[in-house]
């Protein structure tokens, strides 16, 4: 079974079919996706500004990152699940969209990197080494996901 056939199967799921038939499903879910992304990138910015040394001079980076954790992952869950619903309604279109593949690659990298940073903070809560580099990579990956996502509609 080719990957394209798998994507075709996604589109044929009841959710995928419902999404294409309904006029409000896609816009409504996309608004949720946009709200989730606003909060997710907001939380990512919030943590990384601290890692760059630009905010919270009195608090340690690991404390700020821990404080933002529930917010960041809740927002990520909202964005990912709404994104999955959007994907189901137009999987085949996504298959042929180059920006979609850039976005997915960046998304996997961003999620993996975020998890690695969280694990490191949990393991050694004292202080984060290479904080600035971590922040630059994290911001690059997450905003890359956003830009590639926006580009899906343009290419």
């Amino acid at each position: 079974m080719s990957l394209l056939a798998v994507f075709g199967w996604f589109e044929a799921t009841p959710i995928g079919r419902f999404g294409r038939e309904s006029k409000v499903f896609f816009p409504a879910v996309e608004v949720v996706h946009l709200l989730g992304l606003t909060l997710l990138l907001g939380a990512v910015l919030f943590v990384n500004l601290k890692l760059l040394g630009l905010t919270s001079p009195r608090r340690r980076a690991s404390e700020v990152a821990r404080a933002a954790r529930p917010l960041l992952w809740t927002a990520a869950a909202v964005t990912l699940s709404s994104g999955l619903l959007l994907f189901l309604t137009e999987a085949v279109k996504c298959y042929f969209n180059v920006a979609f593949w850039y976005k997915m690659t960046l998304l996997v990298a961003a999620l993996g990197f975020q998890l690695a940073v969280e694990l490191r903070i949990t393991a050694r809560p004292a202080e984060l080494a290479h904080a600035r580099l971590t922040a630059v990579v994290s911001l690059g990956l997450w905003f890359g996901v956003g830009i590639a996502g926006r580009a899906i509609a343009f290419v």
Binding site: P27, E30, V31, L34, L35, L37, T38, L39, L40, L41, G42, A43, V44, L45, F46, L49, L54, T55, S56, R58, A67, L71, F143, G146, I147, R150, A151, F154
Partner: protein, 163 residues
């Protein structure tokens, strides 16, 4: 001259037309508008969550708001400039959309809420170091969350209604 006439003149101006026709620049500006949401509304949501006591509750409000403020304001500056340019390029088209008018209404409400909050906060500075906030401040947080959610929703809807 009505506001709609003014919108037509804006949209038909050399700059407005050039912007709309240069798809490349238009898409870049639109992406800046969408992604700067994270810096403006995203950061503001974090501040609102502090006001309603759902985030960083054990830190003084003034600390949380103080460190977010410059970033948030830069985000809103980016948002308004990019939004203004987008409006310039299709002023008359969006002006007739009821969704656009509703968006502007919620934007004005959000702005009034923020101004009222700043004004009250300035008058009661002693309150703002405390962990739990008076009901008025919590209400300001909820109002802000609600208004900005509506602004984002309606903003997205303008584009859907118009295609």
């Amino acid at each position: 001259m009505t506001i709609l006439d003014l919108c037509h003149r804006l949209q038909d101006s050399a700059f407005g037309t050039a912007l709309l026709e240069s798809r490349y620049w238009w898409l870049i500006i639109e992406s800046v508008h969408v992604l700067s949401l994270s810096m403006s509304v995203g950061m503001l949501f974090i501040a609102d969550l502090r006001l309603i006591g759902k985030f960083r509750r054990h830190e003084p409000v003034s600390d949380v708001l103080g460190e977010l403020r410059p970033w948030m304001l830069s985000g809103f500056a980016l948002m308004f400039v990019s939004g203004g340019l987008l409006f310039w390029s299709e002023a008359a088209t969006v002006f007739i959309s009821p969704w656009f008018k509703l968006k502007m209404l919620f934007l004005a409400l959000a702005g009034a809420n923020a101004l009222l909050f700043e004004w009250r906060r300035g008058r009661q500075p002693a309150l703002w170091g405390t962990l739990d906030l008076p009901a008025g401040a919590q209400l300001a947080g909820w109002t802000s969350l609600g208004c900005w959610t509506a602004v984002i929703l309606l903003g997205r809807w303008i584009a859907y209604a118009h295609t």
